[in-house]
Symmetry: C2
Subunit: 161 residues, 2 copies
């Protein structure tokens, strides 16, 4: 990001670093390490969250869903017009559809998810003719650390079992 | 339903009536009228919810998401093994994917949703090879009153605008 007033497309590293920090905090809690942040139209981070499905006993508590709920609460609207979302992993179909419903402007994601992704894999939610709002999508942002964190988590879990 | 111990497939009217009651309560609040309930493996309703996206300023606050969260909280698990979900409208892609993540056994829905549905329309979430859990799906349960309630809501909204 060149300045606080010019976020997003040009140099989206700084918000993704914040999303990675959320993913790291998730792995410290024993959760699948995925983190997300949302920026308002001025480029200010208005919400940040990490995956917490286990802690909340909630299969919908993915980082993207939590950060959308938090951002909506922050601005008092169910639509996040001109807001951008950064997430360390390609969103699953549930989260991809939620990002559309929230009217997110741009989606930046880190590692692709061939097995469970819903943006560039699986149902490719935004490619459906019935999708009513399609964010601009930029994949592979800080892909290496995001993927490394996931590999670490799953290797450690296999090691325990 | 023949008895409290034999719910679901045979005669799924009674739970759908409860889902319709949730949809009616939603329309009274000015929300899109969709309602849902979840039954535990013994056929007992453990959660009920209606759509409240406007009241909560939350685009994810669809009836299905709310009822999944409530049922998970009730049983203290992020997986609703052998539980069944009844909803008055075909779930959208977000909710269809959430139902899969929650490991719901059977999905009963009322009216089909050609425009925004994600089960038998649009991305057909459960038909994707990447879908890791597919509920049994029974559509068209109490379709007429569910569809009539939606028609009433959208006609009244058009009339106001």
């Amino acid at each position: 990001m060149n300045s606080d007033d010019q976020p997003s497309k040009a140099a989206p590293m700084r918000p993704m670093e914040q999303a990675l920090a959320q993913a790291k905090a998730a792995v410290d809690r024993g959760e699948v390490p995925v983190g997300a942040v949302i920026l308002d139209p001025q480029g200010k981070v208005i919400a940040a969250a990490g995956n917490q499905t286990l802690a909340d006993h909630d299969p919908t508590a993915h980082a993207e869903i939590l950060v959308i709920k938090a951002a909506c609460a922050a601005i008092g609207s169910e639509r996040l017009i001109d807001c951008d979302l950064y997430v360390t992993l390609e969103p699953c179909p549930m989260c991809a559809a939620a990002i559309s419903l929230a009217r997110i402007r741009r989606l930046y994601y880190g590692a692709p998810d061939e097995k469970s992704g819903g943006v560039d894999h699986g149902p490719r939610i935004y490619a459906q003719s019935s999708c009513h709002h399609r964010p601009e999508v930029y994949g592979g942002i800080s892909e290496q650390p995001a993927a490394a964190l996931l590999r670490f988590f799953f290797a450690a879990r296999r090691d325990k079992s």
